[in-house]
């Protein structure tokens, strides 16, 4: 080892914004995640892909036999399976992103002590957050691609435009992941973490996932329309049949705003999340 001289002990501080939180090295966190995935986690990875597929087969094919066809976003008649498939894709994008940004972060922070090791290096908390969100989105993109292939094999895709559900799913996942990580910074115990599931399950069941919004009274419709999952469901449903309306921009805008607010919240809460 080369000798350390007294002059080596004087550092000149950077004036770059966010220098305390970010060292522009999120790629090292991503590389670590990919290397760790290679050696383990395969079963968990695969199970995450099968969950929406099982829903699609049981509800779309099974329940679909009773329901027959329903009215699609453009007023066209589509099979029940084709109706719920994009909704299930949106739900799976949400679930994966929320799981990765809440439970997974909480566990790695408090139990696996992975982040403690990372944060004792040149990495800042923002490097870790960006790296983890990127990994979550990469996983989401893989699942979305797999699910889209299943939809194609089941004959539920009628237009090449439908392939845009893959980037749209990543957008939805980004919205939930950025917000989820900010929320996790407020959590201290497992009991508090359970509240996340308490919000997610009703959102999954009632966000026009399995039937149209029109069945609800007006007040409840407004409430559902304020929630993010409904926008995700509608966005993907429109893309699969290539029917775009002014509402499409609202759905897209909703997620862009959610990402902006979520990333701001997460950045502001990084010290609370990682540097306690």
């Amino acid at each position: 080892m080369s000798r350390v001289a007294a002059g080596d002990y004087v550092l000149s501080g950077s004036t770059r914004p966010l220098a305390a939180l970010y060292s522009r090295n999120a790629k090292a966190v991503i590389a670590r995640g990919l290397l760790a995935t290679r050696s383990s986690n395969w079963l968990i990875m695969v199970s995450g892909f099968f969950e929406p597929v099982l829903y699609l087969v049981s509800m779309g094919v099974g329940l679909g036999a009773l329901v027959g066809t329903v009215e699609g976003p453009g007023g066209q008649e589509i099979s029940y399976a084709a109706y719920i498939a994009p909704a299930l894709l949106a739900v799976s994008a949400m679930n994966g992103a929320v799981y990765d940004s809440t439970w997974n972060v909480f566990f790695k922070m408090n139990f696996a002590k992975l982040y403690q090791g990372m944060l004792y290096t040149s990495l800042g908390p923002l490097d870790v957050a960006i790296g983890e969100i990127f990994l979550a989105l990469l996983r989401g993109a893989l699942y979305a691609t797999g699910f889209t292939v299943v939809m194609a094999l089941m004959g539920l895709l009628t237009t090449p435009v439908a392939l845009l559900v893959i980037p749209a799913s990543v957008l939805i996942a980004f919205g939930f992941a950025s917000f989820g990580m900010g929320i996790t910074s407020f959590m201290k115990t497992f009991q508090q973490m359970e509240w996340i599931n308490f919000v997610m399950l009703p959102m999954f069941l009632f966000s026009a996932t399995f039937y149209p919004l029109g069945v609800y009274p007006q007040g409840i419709q407004w409430f559902i329309q304020a929630l993010p999952l409904w926008h995700g469901v509608e966005l993907l449903r429109q893309i699969t049949v290539a029917t775009f309306t002014p509402a499409t921009t609202i759905h897209l805008g909703y997620f862009l705003a959610m990402i902006a607010v979520g990333m701001l919240l997460t950045t502001l809460r990084l010290r609370k999340l990682f540097l306690r």
Binding site: R3, L11, A20, A31, L114, Y120, T121, S122
Partner: protein, 313 residues
């Protein structure tokens, strides 16, 4: 010989505090560490040593006070400060999902170091930690001592200027401890500043140029080990055991022998310049201890004197 101006301290803490609610983990401590020094924080578990280490690394936010590392506030320049820091935490936090050599490589990537540097460096450090034949093993297959050595090797991947060691040899067998001490000596010789916490007095005496005795978040004393022993204890200590019931009751009959008497549940300590002479006095008073031992004063005695408690409960 030209005189050089005194170098600014590498680490400077002034009235540094960390509170968790009402609990004061660190309660206004101040110290300076010059370049190349081996500086120790000696104290029992829960004294605030680890919290101080975490604040130096910039991974814990201080409640009040000032702290600069190499001239920078670790809270404002965490990544830049840590680029030159090596950290051995109290509990090994190796990446269990990666293999042994990958632990070193990936950790080096966190510092933004290129693979062309890291590949030979990782092999060199595996050699240093005597883990070369375990390079491809999974981390959870390593023994406790091997994990500790890997954690220490990992902390050196960026050739740190300051090495923070939090209870570095806890859980190591005596042979492994001596190997590690030897490695740390060599690092010190190459100019690396060592900051270590320990509750082992022999470790503090072996490794530290200077240390602070910490208890309940406060500094009780500061100085070189020999100086602290000189100031707060006598040259020798006579340890007497009369059996667990009699140790405290016999203390009254020992009054006047040596400079100071310390009755403990399991033994009585007599602090004296000459331990053998003190023992003769004890025997001449007709007292017959079950065992007697004369030894040099240690930092344990300093701590006992300052806090009224033993280091290891």
């Amino acid at each position: 010989m030209p005189t050089t101006p005194p170098a600014p301290p590498v680490i400077s803490a002034h009235r540094l505090s960390k509170h968790y609610g009402d609990f004061r983990a660190v309660d206004g401590i101040s110290f300076d560490v010059p370049a190349g020094e081996s500086f120790g924080l000696l104290g029992p578990n829960g004294a605030g040593k680890s919290t101080t280490m975490r604040m130096i690394g910039g991974v814990s936010q201080r409640t009040s006070g000032q702290l600069t590392i190499m001239g920078l506030d670790p809270q404002e320049h965490g990544p830049e400060v840590r680029a030159h820091l090596g950290v051995v935490p109290q509990q090994d936090n190796l990446d269990e999902e990666l293999r042994v050599r990958d632990n070193l490589l990936v950790y080096g990537r966190y510092f933004g170091l290129p693979m062309s540097y890291l590949r030979p460096k990782a092999d060199e450090l595996l050699e240093f930690a005597q883990l070369t034949d375990k390079a491809g093993a999974k981390v959870d297959a390593l023994s406790g001592g091997m994990k500790r050595r890997l954690t220490i090797a990992r902390s050196l991947i960026n050739e740190p200027r300051i090495l923070l060691l939090d209870e570095p040899t806890t859980g190591l067998d005596p042979q492994a401890r001596h190997i590690l001490w030897d490695r740390l000596f060599r690092l010190k010789e190459s100019g690396v500043t060592l900051i270590l916490t320990t509750h082992y007095m022999d470790e503090a005496e072996q490794l530290c140029d200077r240390l602070v005795v910490v208890d309940k978040g406060r500094i009780m004393a500061e100085g070189a080990p020999a100086q602290l022993i000189r100031e707060h204890s006598t040259r020798e200590v006579l340890e007497l055991r009369f059996g667990s019931e009699r140790n405290t009751t016999v203390a009254g009959e020992l009054q006047g022998i040596g400079e100071r008497l310390e009755p403990l549940p399991d033994r009585v300590l007599i602090y004296a310049r000459d331990g053998e002479a003190a023992l003769e006095q004890v025997v001449s008073r007709g007292l017959r201890p079950l065992t007697s031992l004369v030894r040099r004063s240690s930092l344990e005695d300093v701590f006992l004197r300052l806090t009224g408690r033993s280091l290891v409960d």
